[in-house]
Amino acid sequence: MTTDALHPSASGAGPVWRGWRRWLFTTSHKDIGTLYLTFSLIMFFAGGILAELIRAQLIQPGMRLVEPNTFNSLVSEHGLTMIFLAIMPALVGLANWQIPLMIGAPDMALPRVNNWSFWLLPFAAILLWSGFLMAGGAPDAGWTFYAPLSTKYGPPSIDFMIFAIHLMGISSVMGALNIIVTIINLRAPSMRMMDMPLFVWSWLITAFLLLLAMPILAGVVTMVLADRHFGTSFFNAAGGGDPVLFQHLFWFFGHPEVYIMILPVFGVISEILPTFSRKPLFGRVSMIYAIAAIALLSVIVWAHHMFAVGLPVTAQLFFMYSTMLISVPTGVKVFNWTATMWRGSLTFETPMLFALGFLFLFTIGGLSGLMLADVPADYQYTRSYFVVAHLHYVLVTGSLFGIIAAVYYWLPKWTGHRIDERIGRWHFWLSLVSSNLLFFPMHFAGLSGMPRRVADYAPQFAPFNLASSIGAFIFGASQLLFVWAVIKAIRGGEPAGDRPWEGARGLEWTLPSPPPAHTFATPPSPEVVRAEGPHGYD
């Protein structure tokens, strides 16, 4: 092909940019994965600083560290940053690095779109955080920005938040369709759908959820913008609208969104547990169906966030039962993960430790979710710290632990160096203890009546909050160990070899570590695909 000389393809070398241009112009899934993960780590610390400020303000009743209004901004920006700029980009970063390597594809299907998806995010971050410099302060209506807090009473910065959300939405939609197309179209020819690694499956399903959910969010913020500036009254009862409509639309996006943040992690855990148990995943096919079932159900449960706003009783019943139904496929997953370890030859390297931490602590979050799904009980718990405990068990000790496990697991592949197990172990045990010190007392604070999103509280909640704040400081500091471990592996260390974890199966482990710039320009052979597939342990 003469054109190959002009236009480098997977099989030829491209013009090589060095320095900042390499990162700006790149079309390589590996570079883009690195960009996503680095950006997410930075935003994780940015959001973390807000969280530490929140916990400092709440360390004892009567504190006057920040003004109540500023406190509202801290809480809102913390949530928005962690969800849209830390957790989600980290998961897309993992997808970028891993999916092409795991399915034997030369790159993502649409490499330029891929880079665009990434670069929208730093700009969104600027818009989102610009509010801190504005009169009226940063967005203060919570990460859920209910109307009329965000419409009639919202500060000017809400408009910037709205456009930040538009940018993040475009990024997610483009990222999701890229992932779908890559998996469907660029898989190694001999890899059947049902033989795809679980991480790939979980991302395929997540990508569909993203395509479904993100446009909804875009529509909702557009209506908020119109209500704020163009005289519409979607969420204003005086004009025939309804603030509850905002909640319906938001949560129609919002509940799938929480599953968007956990399903890829389910995939990660399903890769790590077999590796360190040296056994195939138990009930592999049922795991795939369980993810699909969770994704389907996640679209019809949204109103469990609104039990107390005054829904018709039939609606409450429907949403209560549909929510409880989700625990069935979730239970299947937890059962299968546990059964995977049953009689395996277990070892406890850092990725395995975090995966086990996930298994126990995420389950706690699932159980508190079940309590919240019960309408009469939720009347007591809703808007209280119990909800904060629930969401942090599923998101911090769930999603975040899973992301950390994934980074430790694949870092040797990406950098070519083994991780420092000593730092990893310290990181794990400190995180485990401190996160429980941080989040477990929130259950009690909530059950005894402490509302969420308040800058001050009654003295009887003081012990719980003191414990939480101490936990928060230790947890935050411990994450510096993670940065240390990552930087150390990037800079050097024991060579990882192709397959640093002897029990690992998957096409990524057939490549050198670090993999060369272009991988799988020719597809892996059917024999390799079979040997690294689900039957690789036979």
Binding site: M1, T3, D4, L6, H7, S9, A10, G14, P15, R22, F25, T27, A105, P106, A109, L110, R112, V113, N114, N115, W116, W119, L120, F123, A124, L127, S130, D159, F163, L167, V173, L177, N178, I180, V181, I184, N185, L186, A188, P189, L211, M214, P215, I216, G219, M223, G231, T232, S233, F234, A237, A238, G239, G240, G241, D242, H248, L249, P312, V313
Partner: protein, 289 residues
């Protein structure tokens, strides 16, 4: 799948357009927020210019690659699936506005009027009467009260015919493309674009009528809100679709597209059919119900 590898799947080389496109989008939207707060449209305009410029260069690069023959079946399949799922996300985007329309029409407004499970809301504005199209909102003093609703007959029905015919003419253009009748292809495409523009012009006329004669505005309560947001976003999509079709027409005139290979044409026509289909929903649910 097989060709993906056999021919060496084309992975685009590093490119400045994606980060520039992101910067353009940032200026466009961030500038719009500044505009809302009294800083004028300048930043937004610069952003818009950047976006248009990048679109030209980026699509130009893709067209160049396509002409150079680096795309094989697998690349084309990527584009095709990508476009399909993009349209799916657009369907969801319109879905929100339709969802809001149904909720307001069938639940919120009746409740405010004292009907149904949450009829206690009537206590808020005891004089409020449930009706749809909602001409008198619960608190009339805050809103511009329209004289009457926008009826379905006249322009909306005529526009339906216009847009539906444009769906047919784009199919005829495709037929002509497959049969290698280039003049017919260009002709039908031009007719399609003209019909699209006619639709937009009539819609603009209808908006004028709404604002000046009927007193129906964005500020007329939820009826005006849903009417203008739904038809407005649809209109924007028609304008975008017509612009894309115009680019396609320019490429046709330059000799692009063959019966075997015309993804750009197909993507544009899918988009056009999608815009058509949304209109059918609008016509039924915004104008008739």
């Amino acid at each position: 799948m097989t060709e993906a590898h056999a021919n060496g799947y084309y992975v685009a080389p590093p490119s400045p357009w994606p980060p520039l496109a992101a910067a353009g989008a940032f200026l466009l939207l961030g500038g719009f927020a500044l505009w809302l707060h009294g800083y004028g449209p300048l930043v937004s305009a610069i952003g818009g210019a950047v976006v248009v410029f990048v679109a030209f260069r980026w699509f130009g690069a893709v067209i160049g690659e396509s002409r150079a023959g680096v795309y094989h079946a697998a690349s084309n399949r990527s584009f095709r699936y990508g476009m399909m799922w993009f349209i799916f996300s657009e369907v969801m985007f319109f879905g929100v506005f339709f969802g809001a329309l149904f909720y307001l029409h069938y639940l919120a407004v009746p409740w405010l009027g004292g009907e149904g499970a949450k009829g206690a809301a009537h206590l808020l504005w005891p004089h409020f009467v449930n009706q749809w199209p909602l001409l008198v909102p619960p608190n009339p003093s805050e809103f511009t009260i329209p004289k009457e609703a926008m009826g379905p007959l006249g322009i909306p029905t005529f526009n339906t015919v216009v847009l539906m015919s444009s769906g047919v003419t784009v199919i005829l253009a495709h037929r002509a493309l497959l049969a290698e009748r280039r003049r017919a292809l260009a002709g039908w495409l031009a007719v399609t674009i003209a019909l699209g523009l006619a639709f937009v012009a009539l819609q603009a006329h209808e908006y004028r009528h709404a604002y000046l004669d009927l007193n129906l505005t964005l500020n007329s309560g939820v009826y005006g809100s849903t009417f203008f947001l739904l038809t407005g976003f649809h209109g924007l999509h028609v304008i975008l679709g017509a612009t894309v079709l115009t680019v396609i027409l320019a490429r046709v005139l330059q000799g692009d597209f063959s019966p075997a290979d015309h993804f750009g044409f197909k993507a544009a026509s899918w988009y056009w059919h999608f815009v058509d289909a949304v209109w059918v929903g609008l016509y039924l649910f915004v104008y008739w119900w």
